[in-house]
């Protein structure tokens, strides 16, 4: 629908001093999932988005961006 998905997860994750593996363990997914998210190759569920936002202590709308 012409919406571009961008993800700033890497920035916030690094700011929190977390590795991909650590973040993956906190939110209960695999490291590959975090990797895909950071590359904006995967659109997460609302639950995962909230879990990640809590883990990296940043608002969802700053981590996951949808540009029209």
């Amino acid at each position: 629908m012409g919406t571009e998905f961008r993800c700033n997860l890497k920035m916030y994750r690094v700011a929190q001093g977390l590795t991909q593996q650590q973040l993956a363990e906190i939110v209960g997914v695999r490291r590959e999932t975090i990797m895909r998210l950071e590359k904006a190759q995967y659109n997460p569920s609302l639950k995962l988005a909230i879990d990640i936002s809590r883990a990296v202590k940043a608002p969802i709308e700053d981590i996951f961006l949808f540009d029209k």
Binding site: G28, V29, R30, T33, R36, Y42, P44, S45, L48
Partner: protein, 213 residues
């Protein structure tokens, strides 16, 4: 199952027990103890006075059925929650796919005895997919995995259905119409191969979606 649901079930159960006791008292006092004392049901004749006991019996039966369904659902949900990792399958199990070649036995058995069922063995070609399943052995089934699994299955089934449509179309168009046995063989081989392909594709595509960077 939530605590609220358990409470509800217990309350309904207690209510039914009270109802049953009331029914028994009613039956003993006003209905000559029918359904309480021993009865020969083969000689049963309906009486309006039996209605309360029959209704209580029906309610208890509904409750038991409802309880069974709820318990079964809860146990299934528990199973699903627990199952967070893919099953452990060694990739070399994929070699079992060679059993698919047993399907060719069908040509020989048909020629010799007119038996066509060995063509079903073509399904075993699908076991080649175990190689890819094995490579994803003991993987955490997170939401990305689930999504990829769904995507792979949908694509595999769609391919299968397209091929099945082509096969049915060919048969419907009158291919092999001179010989009904050939038609049966053609259908059996095609369906077995298509099913094998769907099994294989589900595993293979899932592997590809999982590993693509």
């Amino acid at each position: 199952m939530s605590k609220k649901q358990i409470k509800k079930l217990v309350f309904i159960g207690i209510g039914l027990i009270i109802l049953l006791i009331t029914g028994i008292i009613y039956s003993v006092l006003f209905n000559e103890g029918r359904f309480v004392n021993k009865m020969d049901l083969s000689e049963y004749i309906f009486s309006v006075k039996d209605i309360p006991m029959l209704m209580i019996g029906a309610l208890i039966a509904f409750y038991v059925i409802y309880l069974t369904i709820i318990v079964f659902k809860a146990s299934m949900m528990k199973k699903n929650i627990r199952k967070k990792y893919t099953r452990k399958v060694p990739p070399y199990f994929g070699i079992f796919g060679i059993f698919g070649f047993l399907g060719f036995m069908g040509f020989w058995t048909y020629d010799k005895w007119g038996i066509i069922y060995p063509f079903i063995f073509f399904v075993f070609f699908g076991l080649f997919g175990l190689f890819f399943e094995g490579k994803l052995s003991n993987t955490l089934e997170d939401e990305l995995y689930q999504e990829n699994k769904r995507k792979a299955e949908v694509k595999a089934y769609r391919t299968g259905f397209v091929l099945l449509f082509v096969v049915i179309w060919l048969v419907g168009m009158g291919m092999l119409s001179q010989n009904i046995e050939w038609c049966a063989i053609f259908m059996l081989i095609s369906i077995s191969l298509i099913y094998g392909l769907v099994l294989f594709l589900s595993s293979y595509l899932l592997y590809r979606y999982e590993k693509e960077e």
